[in-house]
């Protein structure tokens, strides 16, 4: 922020967006609203992901559509609070329906989820079409709930979202150990006397709240991405639940703000897909680069491991050959070593690496022998392998 807040007329777009963030009413509202969505869905989404309920979020957000449409049809109001309550109720009923289908029939969880999701969503689309065919103009904008429209956010919406979101997060902080235990081992929680059903319903309700908060901005189709993606990314970076939830909230806020600001600055760009593009970038980055869990990290660790094993293998081959000759420094031809490491290839390259480290030396072209250091290393490696059967 070297430039300070003054607005130079010749400034390019990028700093312009930054200063607009603080000065432009729409952009500020949009950014704040999306930050709230990101923080709340990131925090509650962590529980959904850890409890393997990621898809439930998808079903709940799709199922919210008929709730929004019905709330409008019944009240004639487009007040966000009214629509949000409708959405939450519909999401709730869908969740209860899924649970009761699983409990009372032989239908499996994923099938029940898929059925309820598509039935509710289909019904919602039908209602939307009916609403749009009505002659009066009051219906305008309801279809924005499909893919979200950040620019439509008003300041009082953001205040509502902030209060709801803050309450949800406050509850998870108060019931921190209860929710942690519920997510890790519900049976054990029950034997300790915690009312697991009540806690389960409460946590699910909070997840519903997180989802409906974002419906207006992100849309019913893609809101589940905000529940799943930040949490899945955060899990890559940490093994601590608290850190995971904070990180997930930060990722959610980052994706929410950048997506919403982008879509609000470029006209007619739907917010939901833009946010999802941003959050996808975070997911890809985390999946690839996170230490220990990241794909690249694992790839290099395995390669290093394989390389080390190959070098040790050749050292041991030379060592066992030397033992047969009763002369540890006896030289052997490359072709023998090639035969011993059957088909693995790279023998010459490995020998060069070993000789750089002073473990082997070329006695004559194509003839290799262990050095004194090489003998020690081979003995150490063999000892390690013999006694290396410890617990994982």
């Amino acid at each position: 922020m070297k430039r300070g807040p003054e607005k130079g007329a010749s400034d390019v777009d990028f700093p312009q967006i930054f200063s607009d963030l603080f000065l432009d009413y729409t952009l500020r509202t949009v950014a704040l609203g999306s930050a709230v969505i990101g923080i709340v869905s990131g925090a509650l989404g962590s529980y959904a992901v850890l409890r393997k309920q990621s898809l439930l979020g998808d079903a709940m957000s799709h199922a919210a559509l008929p709730g929004i449409a019905l709330a409008f049809l019944l009240t004639g109001s487009k007040m966000p609070l009214v629509l949000i309550i409708g959405a939450a109720l519909a999401g709730w009923i869908a969740t209860l329906l899924i649970i009761s289908i699983v409990n009372s029939t032989r239908v499996k969880y994923d099938t029940a989820l898929g059925m309820v999701l598509s039935v509710f969503f289909g019904f919602g689309l039908v209602l939307l079409t009916i609403i749009q065919k009505r002659p009066d103009a009051t219906q305008a904008g309801l279809d924005k709930f499909l893919f979200g429209q950040a620019a439509a956010l008003l300041e009082r919406d953001v205040v509502t979202m902030g209060i709801l979101g803050a309450s949800a997060i406050l509850i998870t902080m108060l019931l921190w150990k209860e929710f942690k235990l519920l997510s890790f081992d519900p049976d054990f929680a029950s034997t300790l006397g915690f009312p697991v059903r009540v806690l389960d319903v409460l946590l699910t309700t909070l997840i519903v709240i997180a989802i409906v908060l974002g419906l207006q901005t992100v849309g019913v189709v893609l809101m589940s991405a905000m529940i799943v993606a930040p949490a899945a990314s955060a899990r890559q970076w940490t093994d601590n639940l608290g850190v995971m939830i904070v990180l997930s909230s930060l990722f959610g806020a980052l994706a929410g703000i950048s997506g919403a600001v982008l879509s609000a600055s470029v006209t007619r760009l739907p917010t939901g897909p833009t946010i999802v593009v941003c959050v996808s970038a975070i997911v890809i980055f985390s999946m690839l680069l996170a230490p220990r869990r990241g794909i690249l990290w694992r790839f290099f660790r395995e390669r290093r491991q394989r390389g080390r094993l190959r070098l040790e293998g050749i050292l041991e081959d030379l060592y066992s050959l030397a033992l047969e000759h009763k002369d540890p420094e006896h030289a052997h031809s490359l072709s023998v070593l090639r035969l011993m490491s059957a088909g693995k290839g790279g023998v010459e390259r490995s020998l060069e690496i070993l000789s750089e480290r002073g473990l082997v030396r070329a006695v004559s072209p194509g003839e290799w022998a262990l050095t004194r250091a090489g003998i020690e290393e081979a003995e150490r490696a063999q000892g390690e392998r013999g006694g290396g059967q410890d617990e994982r």
Partner: protein, 262 residues
């Protein structure tokens, strides 16, 4: 033998759908015994433990712990679930999991503090896992996971312990460590009930047993009820490996047969 009844199960029936899993089970566990629940797969062993803990819906019957309903005696009943019942990739540490055993005593909202951490470390010491206190739980072997669960039950400081297959998939060293721990608990006057799979070790590890196959076949001191007749009634014709005379001196390589491979 005039001992107090630690657990009393009366007319217990549990059904999943139309299929009864437990049928009219009456079982009394005297205080201070180390008891094995044995029976074939699908005999309802786990269900029996879960029914005592009120984790499954019962069709009929009731359970008393020291003469009172379980709901009043929760605090004195410790539980070690099957190791595979949780996700070990959950982002938490060994010490955190063990401290969960104190959550009930802590009550609502209050967080575990130094006292709980000290108790957890002491319990980890007992199961030989103090080195692993800060370790992430996904980095544990099966035997280590089992020990963590035992430590979590230990910090509950209960009178009655119910354990679901604590020997499942652990190595020989861990098995010995767990047996020693169970016997220490009994020596301290606790009652320990264990779902067990390896028939060969029953006389060696336990002093009390219940043979279960949907119905209760027999229960009592191992020396009285662990008979070939009762085992045949429990397992049908499938106990050919337990012949007369071999019970106390089975060859080492046959000790593994049992029912484990199923």
């Amino acid at each position: 033998m005039n001992r107090e009844e630690a657990i009393k199960v009366e007319d217990l029936t549990v059904a999943y759908g139309e299929k009864p899993v437990l049928w009219d089970v009456d079982l009394t566990v005297p205080s201070g015994v180390l008891m094995a629940i044995i029976g074939p797969n699908g005999a309802g062993k786990t269900t029996l433990i879960k029914a005592v803990l009120n984790l499954v819906n019962t069709a009929a019957g009731r359970v008393l712990i020291y003469g009172e309903p379980y709901s009043k005696q929760r605090r004195i009943v410790g539980y070690v679930p099957q190791r595979g019942s949780v996700d070990w990739d959950f982002p938490t540490s060994v010490k955190d999991v063990v401290m969960m055993g104190r959550y009930g005593a802590l009550g609502w909202i209050r967080r575990p503090g130094k006292k709980e951490a000290d108790m957890a470390l002491a319990a980890l010491e007992k199961v030989g896992m103090s080195r692993f206190a800060e370790r992430q739980i996904s980095q544990l072997s099966g035997g280590q996971q089992q020990r963590v669960f035992l430590a979590r039950a230990l910090v509950q400081d209960a009178q009655v312990y119910l354990m679901d297959e604590p020997f499942q998939g652990v190595d020989a060293t861990t098995e010995r460590a767990i047996v020693t721990l169970l016997q220490e608990l009994r020596a301290a006057g606790k009652t320990v009930v264990v779902v067990h799979h390896d028939l060969q070790t029953v006389p060696e590890y336990f002093d009390w047993t219940a043979l279960l196959n949907v119905r209760l076949i027999a229960s009592g001191p191992v020396s009285e009820v662990f008979t070939e007749e009762n085992l045949r009634l429990t397992y049908g014709g499938r106990v050919s490996f337990l012949r007369h005379g071999e019970r106390n001196g089975a060859p080492e390589d046959e000790k593994r047969t049992g029912e484990r491979g199923f």
